[in-house]
Symmetry: C2
Subunit: 147 residues, 2 copies
DNA sequence: CTATAATTGATTGAGTTCAATTAAATTGAT
DNA sequence: ATCAATTTAATTGAACTCAATCAATTATAG
């Protein structure tokens, strides 16, 4: 057996590395489908929230997506340019900005509805593996929100 | 029950989204430890390969990390500036560039050896969850290399 | 009321990521 | 041997990510 204290630094012994690599690979799977509706992956998950919420503050949006305003602001500006959302500063608390889904944004949902099934086919996990993965990932995400 | 064909577009029904978010959150856990040795996460996993290989082509390095030359080149230039690697174009095949670990790069391993244990503690999965996650992620990664 | 603290979004800068392109070198088929 | 196809890195451009900082606003303490 060849064991050294440096084995912990081998790529094959990492858990973070395959997590990081798999995330990029799966996002890459979305690209052809998202290209067809002119969205990036970040814009797509932002629209997912908008389709559910219709109206939400930038702050709340960022919390749902685990992204900060430095990332959200340009994404929202781009979606506003495409006509899918509008932004308006709150009158009651001028520090906050609300984002609103437009009719055009609502209509886009129809074009996006087939995408999840198409990508799921490519990833090719069993239902059980999918569930296991889901649970573990949300365990990680719940831990991170703590400190 | 409230079911619609649009449920597949809800954030909570996605598998890719928590994968994408968890990957970023875990990478973020590394930051304080990596800041201490002046490496980014991408530079860190690149050094992991170098600690194992001592010498490797840019092509092979990119394949191991699932990154292309557009990402690797600036990372390697930065590591070269820090003195941890050198780069030299192959004499036998001048298309390829080999990367070499320097003594300084080798010495950095000693400073990095405690990092994996520190981060593992933060993520807080059980051994079984870790193994399940590992297997599923590599299943995803093996699928992606195919097409 | 006033000063301090906290919240919120925007901005900035460095680094990452990847598709597309370019340039050089090698390989393979004829 | 020659020319087309392939391989390899580098470059470019657009977008994402995040820490740090800033400015404006609101909340709280005294």
């Amino acid at each position: 057996m060849s064991n050294s204290k440096y084995d912990v630094l081998k790529l094959e012994n990492q858990l973070c590395f395959p997590l990081y690599a798999a995330a990029r690979e799966v996002v890459k799977q979305y690209r052809p489908y998202l290209d067809a509706i002119d969205l990036t992956y970040t814009q797509y998950i932002t629209m997912m929230v908008m389709w559910e919420e219709k109206e939400i503050t930038v702050k709340a949006l960022g919390e749902k997506l685990f992204l900060d305003s430095g990332t959200m602001t340009p994404v929202l500006k781009s979606l506003e340019t495409k006509g899918y959302v509008t932004r308006k500063r709150s009158t009651t608390d001028e520090r906050s900005v609300s984002v609103f889904l437009t009719d055009s944004g609502e209509a886009l949902k129809e074009k996006a509805v087939d995408i999840p099934a198409k990508v799921a086919g490519c990833v090719g996990l069993t239902a059980e593996e999918g569930l296991q993965l889901y649970k573990i990932l949300y365990k990680i995400l719940s831990k991170e929100g703590e400190e």
